[in-house]
């Protein structure tokens, strides 16, 4: 397994890339790696990782979610921290694994122990590592969507803004309804596609109304939903995960070919 960053006393971080980043946008994974290393961590990417099990858990399929949750626990419990570039996946591990194993005395302590050291990437960088990006330039205007799980389950709100304020040339514009759900909701967006469309339609209008060059956020699911709707509506807003901007790896927005 590849390891990088070897400063003595550096915390050993297991990067949980999340299944969407792995399959759809590897650049977010590389940006997360770069940021964690810049923040003085020794980072490892366990190669047997797949998904946290959230789609099954949120479908009520606890029996299907448990094997996935157990695999995540086994893979990451030896690290000092589990860090994921997603509030939703980190929230699943932190808030819901203990719920999932509430009646399982063998797994509950392990679920709780992992929950205690699990963090969403942007809040980890600020709250745990006191990190601030240096010499990062991005000449653009941007608006920010607060993804719901990160915001309400993990309290991610000030941290991404603090990080982005350290990026030279970046102008952050407020988004009307920035704390309102974008209508993604995991399997919700395909099961109740028309309702989801009504919700993301309003979100896309609000994004366009800011006239910002970029839409940023911290959760790839929500970003894909909003980017896909903006593109369908013919908007020119470029959509990135915040980590890509912070790592200076924002050459190609979602949907732009290299």
């Amino acid at each position: 397994m590849p390891e990088r960053g070897n400063a003595p006393g550096a915390p050993h971080v297991g990067l949980f890339a999340t299944c969407l980043v792995d399959s759809i946008r590897p650049n977010v994974g590389f940006a997360a790696l770069a940021l964690l290393e810049a923040a003085g961590c020794k980072v490892e990417v366990p190669l047997q990782q797949t998904c946290c099990g959230q789609p099954a858990f949120n479908s009520g399929a606890d029996d299907a979610a448990k094997p996935l949750a157990k695999a995540v626990i086994e893979t990451f419990e030896a690290f000092d921290y589990l860090v994921a570039p997603s509030g939703s996946c980190a929230g699943m591990i932190k808030a819901h694994y203990p719920e999932l194993f509430a009646d399982d005395p063998a797994w509950l302590p392990r679920a709780r122990a992992l929950a205690a050291k699990t963090h969403e990437l942007l809040s980890f960088l600020v709250d745990v590592r006191g990190f601030s990006p240096r010499n990062v330039v991005c000449k653009a205007s941007a608006t920010y969507h607060d993804s719901c799980s990160g915001l309400r389950e993990l309290g991610v709100k000030a941290q991404p803004r603090a990080l982005l304020n350290a990026v030279a040339g970046l102008e952050l514009r407020p988004l009307e309804g920035e704390e309102t759900c974008c209508g993604f909701g995991g399997t919700f967006c395909v099961k109740y596609s028309d309702i989801s469309n009504a919700i993301v339609g309003e979100k896309a209008q609000n994004v366009v109304a800011t006239d910002a060059d970029l839409l940023l956020g911290g959760d790839l699911g929500c970003l894909l939903n909003m980017a896909g709707k903006l593109r369908r509506d013919g908007a020119s807003t470029r959509v990135f995960h915040t980590a890509e901007i912070l790592a200076g790896m924002a050459d190609h927005a979602i949907g732009e070919e290299a």
Partner: protein, 467 residues
């Protein structure tokens, strides 16, 4: 009166294609959200008061039998008659019998969601009674032959322009103009005579106060006082979860309830009703009946206990992206929005209503604004889990989750699946985007999907190449 018809999906489609509905909902809920936010902002102790409110309700619920018996003793002592109803059938029968015994022809009603829950409007009509809804919004939907679409603003689905048309058509004396004051004046004139003609007035209750045996109503229009005072008989219908230990507790909850509902500090009227008219009283009903309804609530005490804290403020509806998109009628039950999606499966059966807890993004805003901190997302997930175990979920969606979870639990198989699926998806892409994808029409009907990369993140890490 037309109850919402068709399947959940039919009702949703109808709602999403109604541009007037979107306008009406946004006016009402947008206003409510702004006013609530200002009220919370202006009350530094809000979060402490919220925690205290949850504790007040939990205390009453933990000792529900004790406080209900105390309430009954004190209500009887005040001269009230107390009736216990296990289910909606019993509740409706009790109310109709009281009306018949009173020789009633006209019955006035002030807004009560429990009345809707137990099907009281329909039962009164079936018994041949003339039912007069006296809450302004209930009056509007009675004219329109509809059911409420919001628990605080029953006519939230109608614009002021719609209402003007209804009043022009149905009021004996048409409103002289279509501004708010003229229209309210027209409704007042229309209803005035009925307040005094009615033999029976029916209200709900916001609280049942155990230490006094009084019931409390919280309203803005004064119609509840005119419904409960002039008629010879006042009937209260209330769910047993409305019990609180004391007047002080009721008032503490009122502070949270009103701010969460309308953003005001208090409503125009906060009335404690205790027993019938006494010898020295100038007015009041001769008989005061309280019908206490269980309807699944004792069962919820063990299964969904926090749900019984609900004050029926409507904040979760106003802040729900799904409610704001589809309105209340699409939910098909007496209670819409997040709280309704938890309650309706308990009342109407999960198999018929399984869409309600599923049609939610679990974004958590409902819990955040709930004045008694009900973990609504957890309760919605509880129903999803029950539905999954009972086999109520559609076969294809269930199979998709099972197969995906099986594959994802086996990393080697998962990587193999990725090496087939991702290149296949890439074949559908044009200029970086996929606009139509087999088996994914739920996504591509409304959104494009970015072209997946040549290699996954883990593959690149395994090969040792960084981006």
């Amino acid at each position: 009166m037309s109850a919402p018809a068709g399947t959940f999906h039919d009702r949703v489609e109808k709602a999403l294609h109604d541009p007037q509905l979107k306008i009406a909902l946004e006016r009402t809920t947008g206003n409510a959200r702004r006013k609530r936010a200002a009220a919370v902002e202006a009350w530094p102790e809000f979060s402490a008061a919220r925690a205290a409110a949850a504790a007040i309700k939990d205390h009453a619920l933990a000792h529900m039998a004790y406080y209900l018996e105390m309430f009954e003793r004190n209500a009887l002592a005040s001269g009230a008659q107390v009736h216990w109803a296990r289910d909606p059938d019993e509740a409706r029968r009790i109310v109709v019998e009281i009306c018949k015994a009173a020789g009633a022809k006209t019955v006035t009603r002030s807004k009560s969601m429990l009345g809707e829950e137990i099907g009281l409007p329909h039962a009164l009509a079936e018994a041949g009674l003339r039912r007069v809804e006296t809450d302004l919004a209930e009056h509007i939907i009675q004219l329109a032959g509809e059911t409420p679409s919001h628990i605080i603003w029953p006519a939230a689905h109608r614009t002021r322009e719609d209402v003007a048309k209804l009043f022009d058509q149905y009021h004996r004396e048409k409103p002289p103009a279509h501004d708010v004051v003229s229209m309210v004046g027209s409704a007042r004139k229309e209803l005035r005579a009925d307040f005094f003609a009615a033999e029976v007035g029916i209200s709900g209750a916001n609280f049942l106060v155990a230490e006094t045996g009084a019931i409390c109503t919280i309203t803005n229009e004064g119609n509840a006082e005119l419904t409960t005072t002039p008629p010879r008989v006042h009937i209260v219908t209330a769910g047993i979860e409305k019990i609180v230990a004391s007047t002080e507790h009721a008032l503490q909850l009122t502070r949270l309830l009103v701010r969460s509902a309308t953003g005001a500090d208090l409503t125009q009227y906060t009335t404690f009703h205790s027993g019938p008219k006494r010898a020295a009283d100038r007015d009041g009903p001769e008989q005061f009946h309280i019908v206490l309804v269980d309807h699944e609530r004792t069962k919820m005490l063990s299964e969904l206990p926090e749900m019984l804290r609900c004050l029926r403020c409507g904040a979760c509806l106003n802040h729900c992206v799904v409610y704001r998109a589809i309105g209340g009628h699409a939910y098909g039950g007496a209670y819409p929005g997040p709280m309704g999606s938890v309650l309706t499966p308990a009342f109407d059966g999960l198999q018929q209503t399984r869409d309600l807890p599923s049609a939610c993004t679990l974004n958590g805003q409902c819990k955040q604004v709930c004045p008694v901190d009900i973990p609504l997302p957890t309760m919605l997930r509880h129903w999803r889990s029950r539905s999954w175990r009972a086999g109520y979920e559609p076969k294809i969606a269930g199979a998709a989750i099972s197969i995906w979870a099986f594959v994802a639990a086996r990393p080697a198989l998962y990587q193999l699946a990725q090496t087939f699926a991702l290149p296949a998806m890439r074949l559908f892409a044009k200029a970086g985007w996929i606009s139509s994808l087999p088996l994914a029409s739920g996504w591509t009907a409304h959104r494009d999907f970015p072209k997946p990369p040549r290699q996954t993140f883990l593959t690149m890490i395994r090969k040792g190449n960084r981006s």
